[in-house]
């Protein structure tokens, strides 16, 4: 589904990713761990097509050259990024935003757009699945949301937009145990043989719930070690320091 080949990225002449390789097949869940500043968010931003990076290398998504697509085109193709720091957009109602977003994607895929009633039904169903307080959806997008509410809002969006590749950038940071379980359930319910995940985290905690197929260690802009779930445990025990 996704293949990254020798990916290098610079910002303002600063080299952040230095030749990264990664393959994700349909249905797989990959976890990336790594110290702060190692380039995890940079990787997720590049996969989503954020501007401002100087990028070298190859990224193929379902056989297509991803680097040629704009951010929203990637979203239309099924790439979803749960942001590490979800943005506040003043004045924009969260429901309005969700509806605009889902219909933009549906339209691009040639599917029928949702009318107000279908949309409300979907929202109701998804938010009750995720135990997400619907009242929040009538507030301005992320404005005044607590850290946990913002993260849950990202997961709600993920489950509504039904992406093929979901990238979760430290979605678990700052969540309490209950919220963590909800987020994991959100991921697990989307998990099937076609959907893949790239989960960026510092903690084994989340991985206990989600059980990744592969775990990678990102350090100094490269994946320096890959393994299975055991690697996560080991990393948490001995720290990133001791891996080179």
């Amino acid at each position: 589904m996704l293949s990254i080949e020798n990916l290098k990225a610079k910002i303002d002449e600063k080299e952040i990713l230095k030749g990264l390789n990664l393959n994700i097949k349909p249905g797989e869940v990959h976890a990336i761990m790594g110290p702060n500043g190692s380039g995890k968010s940079t990787l997720s931003n590049i996969l989503s097509g954020k501007k401002g990076y100087e990028v070298n290398g190859n990224i193929k998504f379902e056989g297509e050259n991803l680097l040629e697509l704009e951010t929203e085109e990637r979203a239309h193709k099924g790439i979803f990024l749960a942001f590490q720091y979800p943005l506040e957009i003043p004045g924009v109602n969260t429901n309005t935003f969700l509806k605009t977003s889902i219909n933009a994607i549906k339209k691009a895929r040639g599917e029928k757009e949702l009318d107000a009633i279908e949309f409300l039904k979907l929202i109701k169903q998804k938010s009750s699945e995720l135990k997400f307080d619907q009242a929040i959806l009538n507030r301005q997008l992320n404005v005044g949301f607590s850290g946990g509410e913002k993260k849950k809002n990202e997961i709600l969006q993920m489950s509504i937009l039904d992406p093929k590749l979901s990238i979760l950038d430290e979605t678990d940071s700052g969540l309490d145990i209950d919220a963590l379980r909800i987020v994991s359930e959100g991921v697990n319910s989307l998990r099937n043989k076609n959907n893949s995940f790239l989960i960026i985290t510092h903690y084994q905690r989340l991985l206990d719930y989600i059980k990744p197929d592969f775990v990678h260690l990102l350090k100094n802009g490269q994946i320096i070690k890959s393994g299975n779930f055991e690697l996560a445990k080991e990393l948490e025990k001995v720290g990133y320091e001791n891996f080179n």
């Binding site: 990076y53 190859n58 979203a75 990024l81 957009i89 004045g91 977003s101 937009l161």
Partner: protein
């Protein structure tokens, strides 16, 4: 290995935008007109008055204004400058011929007129009753149709064209016309007093809450014609009315002048809500043509506990120059001004409000959202004046500007005068742009650049959009999006 910078490719999108940019209301209707002779003179004024079968006092009102007008100089302190207008080269009266002997009912109306309003999306037919909005439509200079009349009459509400009011409700018009905007006011207001041709008249009797939105649609059709409407709304004690105004004009190469006067009077405990969605033709991409929208709007909170609220969405016109104002004379009266003004391409706007606090415990609130794009120029100019008698009065002003690109300008000038130690004035203003991070977030959720901008700008304007009646809010939101198309890249 491929090397590729991640950049947005805008070419195909640019084309799409060009196509969208066409002014949706830019058709003109082929209708025979009766016109006054070109130019401005006592004769022309007498002609207008005569053709409208006006009483003597009305003619005198006009002539007095005209005398004054001859002494006034055209102001030029405003920011948007415009080429000199030759006032002798305009028609001051133009009416569709079929209106000469006014149709008694909508069925007798010229089908072409009905067609025009249908294209504008304004239902004049009685079956439009479902919409629950009473409409008065003004085509060029005359009112062509007023709907729902009977329904309103039952409650004693008068909603008719100004010409009709002058004849049938002479005492009311005579009592209030020119009391908020005197005939000797500034240049354009005085010109209007001399030559106004039609407009809407509303009277809400004591204690009556008007059961439906009242609405006027203005359309300029004839070329070389100035449009000078006059609107007068009186809300008697304890009454309430919500009034909507919409405007469009065909695309023409030359500039057209629109200088309306709107007077609102709220007596004790009365409330008037006045909303405008102004989408006059703004001129083309290079700034050719478009309407000069030089309008005087003023409301008088005459009685105690009265309230006047102006809401405007100004997206059209080559130049918009207006300051809908409130004179808060009655104790405890309230004035509000909610404004969205958007300029794109070569449009210019100099708009804002005046809140004059005279009575005790008067309150005013100003929320202004200005958005400039392209090579346009946007000015907020406002006055808050609390007099020494207006104890315990308050004003709050929030003025936000959004710039899109660096060929446009945003200019904020509030004049703040406080002569009362028991009163407070608070003013805040910001200038910002849409952040790349916000756009990226929206893009990641599948919205393209245009959709993302429209969404974020609508969020920026939310406080004002909320003030509009439902039917208008949806229209206005779309307008906000359309007006900015092609401005971000």
């Amino acid at each position: 290995m491929t090397t590729k910078k991640q950049e947005f490719k805008m070419d195909s999108r640019q084309k799409e935008i060009e196509n969208l940019k066409d002014y949706k209301y830019g058709f003109s209707t082929d209708i025979e007109n009766i016109r006054a002779p070109k130019g401005l003179s006592e004769e022309v004024i007498k002609f207008i008055s005569k053709i409208k079968k006006e009483p003597e006092w009305m003619l005198n009102f006009r002539l007095k204004a005209f005398e004054r007008f001859k002494q006034l100089k055209e102001p030029n302190w405003q920011k948007p400058k415009y080429p000199k207008i030759d006032y002798q080269d305009l028609y001051y009266y133009s009416a569709p011929k079929s209106m000469k002997d006014k149709p008694k009912s909508l069925d007798e109306l010229d089908p072409k007129l009905l067609e025009t309003y249908k294209k504008l999306g304004i239902p004049l037919q009685e079956q439009a009753r479902l919409n629950g909005i009473a409409v008065d439509a003004v085509f060029d200079s005359v009112s062509v149709a007023t709907t729902f009349k009977e329904e309103l009459t039952k409650q004693g509400i008068i909603f008719c064209s100004m010409s009709e009011a002058i004849q049938k409700h002479s005492e009311l018009v005579k009592k209030y016309l020119g009391t908020v905007i005197p005939t000797t006011d500034h240049f354009f207001a005085t010109l209007n007093s001399a030559v106004f041709t039609d407009g809407s008249f509303v009277y809400i009797p004591e204690g009556v809450k008007c059961p439906m939105e009242l609405s006027t649609y203005f359309r300029i059709n004839a070329s070389e014609t100035g449009q000078f409407e006059r609107t007068l709304i009186i809300a008697d004690k304890g009454s309430y009315v919500s009034y909507l105004e919409g405007c469009t004009a065909p695309m023409r190469d030359e500039n057209q002048l629109h200088a309306a006067n709107v007077e609102l009077i709220a007596l004790d405990d009365a409330e008037i809500k006045y909303s405008t969605v102004q989408n006059w033709y703004p001129g083309d991409k290079d700034g050719k043509g478009g309407i000069y929208n030089f309008v005087t709007k003023r409301g008088l909170c005459k009685g105690k506990n009265s309230k006047i609220s102006w809401t405007q969405v100004e997206t059209g016109s080559a130049i918009t120059w207006k300051y809908p104002s409130c004179i808060l004379k009655g104790d405890n009266s309230v004035g509000e001004f909610y404004s969205i003004a958007i300029t794109n391409n070569h449009q210019k706007a100099d708009t804002g409000t005046k809140m004059i606090h005279l009575g005790k415990n008067t309150k005013s609130k100003i929320i202004s959202k200005g958005i400039s794009a392209g090579q346009s120029d946007m000015m907020y100019r406002g006055l808050v004046d609390i007099s020494s008698k207006a104890d315990n009065s308050r004003n709050f002003t929030q003025c936000d500007s959004l710039l899109m690109g660096n060929k446009c300008g945003a200019h904020t000038i509030p004049y703040i005068k406080n002569k009362n130690l028991k009163s407070n004035i608070e003013h805040e203003a910001t200038t910002s742009k849409i952040s790349d991070e916000q756009l990226y977030y929206c893009n990641q959720r599948g919205l393209n650049q245009e959709e993302a901008v429209s969404l974020i700008v609508n969020g920026f304007c939310k406080e004002v959009l909320q003030q509009l009646p439902m039917e208008f809010a949806v229209e206005a939101q779309k307008l906000v999006g359309i007006s900015l198309e092609g401005s971000v890249g």
